[in-house]
Symmetry: C2
Amino acid sequence: MEASLKVHIPKRTLAEGLSVLERIIPSRSSNPVLTYLPIELSEGALVLRGTNGEVDLEVKLPAETEGLGQVLVPAQTFFQIVRSAPGDLVELVFGEGEQLELHSGAFSTQLSTTSPEGYPELLFASDEGGRIGAAQLAQAITRVRYAASTEEYRAIFRGVQIEMSPQGLRTVASDGFRLARYDLPMELPSRKLVVPAKSADEIVRVFKDKEEELVFSVREGSLTLRGDSLRMSVKLMEGEFPDYERVIPQSFVLEALLKAEAFRESLRRVAVLSDRNNHRVNLLFSQERLTIDAEGDYGRGREELPLRSTGEPQLMVAYNAQYLIDALGPVEGEVRVRLSGPTSPTLLQAVEDEGYLAVVVPLRV
Amino acid sequence: MEASLKVHIPKRTLAEGLSVLERIIPSRSSNPVLTYLPIELSEGALVLRGTNGEVDLEVKLPAETEGLGQVLVPAQTFFQIVRSAPGDLVELVFGEGEQLELHSGAFSTQLSTTSPEGYPELLFASDEGGRIGAAQLAQAITRVRYAASTEEYRAIFRGVQIEMSPQGLRTVASDGFRLARYDLPMELPSRKLVVPAKSADEIVRVFKDKEEELVFSVREGSLTLRGDSLRMSVKLMEGEFPDYERVIPQSFVLEALLKAEAFRESLRRVAVLSDRNNHRVNLLFSQERLTIDAEGDYGRGREELPLRSTGEPQLMVAYNAQYLIDALGPVEGEVRVRLSGPTSPTLLQAVEDEGYLAVVVPLRV
């Protein structure tokens, strides 16, 4: 078959590009065209795209190309074929009669393609609203992501709020029973936006290991992030978080310093015995010791940990163990636990990473 | 609390013993007592048991014990607690009032227990029907297991047949469309039995890394296997396989030698394009080359492999790709493919492991 459109690309480059798109492109969809992968041949590059309706993504791979053109191929099949291709190099030939040929080593395939006309247009804003480090953005989201709600009720809490200001980048998540906040000093133009938690996960997945700076733009309800070879556009949620600062306690009756990892592990052990519904653990803070206990259908568990505390000589507070375990997740080294009373919110702060703060509301006694 | 029954045991020993039982003991059951773990304190040993109704298992762990006794504890909770225990040593105290105390480092728990009376009696035959290497038995089952049926129809094929004789150990599995047979020379008393495939998986899992010899016994519809610290009893299926030797072809029109792994990988690649229902791949055997191709909804795939063949200069045969891939699974190095015609069964043999043989029935043209 004579064909004028052709590209040669290392298998590894192509497979890495596809792996970024693989989680975005749905394997089933009420709009079947979204299960296809648009492949575009541009000058010196192979451009791959995908969308799940919430997140649009574009990957540009440098490649030896001949000609310009675009086709849609069944994405899952294409992923499988490239992953298992036997050669180091992959040749794609945009043949006539709606066929895409792929050659690699002794293997060759002719894939049925579909006209790109039915595919939705992916819009990536091209203006510059500011710049932000890819890894920093991912880090700031990761620290608070766990606290986002999964309930239909108060839908805004199903998102992660990103606040930019000349003081820095702030991320916040909450489900009404707990809150996580992270501050990273940097100079940014003032903006406040809420990214759906699942889309926030995609930002983290795609950018967490990148060292580059991203150009961002917020327009028409979308956040666009542009890097060297990647462009991502994320639909934003409407509205913003209600005033969360008022749930962050300001005065405390007891403060304790603990090793975060040991605290987390103790909670995990004792929580095995806790009530299956509310995961209730009782924490007794005294001057040199924290006693954690729980009781459920299968018995009781108990563990003691050393701590240093100031304030009241003794205080008993009950929590959902999972909320404490989650809140300790981003903390390395020591954690400062600041109690405002047995029924008032408790503050947790990472001693070695002052940007991180978590609030957990105790269970009623 | 004063208690007279006590055991000290390294956490690692206990955790390893439990890991053997963990897959057997159901986390839910229509007979809830099966979700409990019977713990018995005997002289110098802690004995743990479990059953899923098909497979009974007993693990005997050497331990410093005080007193004799038995309790039932909720198995999943106990597994979790031991896995996360903070100390190197675990102390179990059989307390009064139906409590089992567990202490490890700064952690302690009191587990609710249940009287062992409701638990079914696990019977492990104590006579000796013969001896067999644990790893050899596991190996012989592993080689053929893939070919067992998952269909309700012809239920006997949902098992693995184990044939013992003075010539050796033979395992066979089939689903009517393919067959796998493995022979391991050794001297055994003559017996023929069929183990349900899922129970056969448990035999493999428990014994595959053991170097010991097992004493076995076949009585009252059960196979009992006894090792140094493990006893297992497996319910057998009733009946035996119909005469399978007649489906093994005896005369051939073409024989080919191929590298098994390359063959398997080519089949995997081309099969991506095959029809989703029957996974049909077409194999064209010619004198120096095998051409594999497939065609399905998404296009066509094709690959060529070098081979050495004798017999007919050319033969085209179609297969379910998955059946060939499975049949090649146990083959390392070269495979001998022996064809008796385009619609007659094909034989596959491992050149370097003469005990292994597979039969695959081609798809109709």
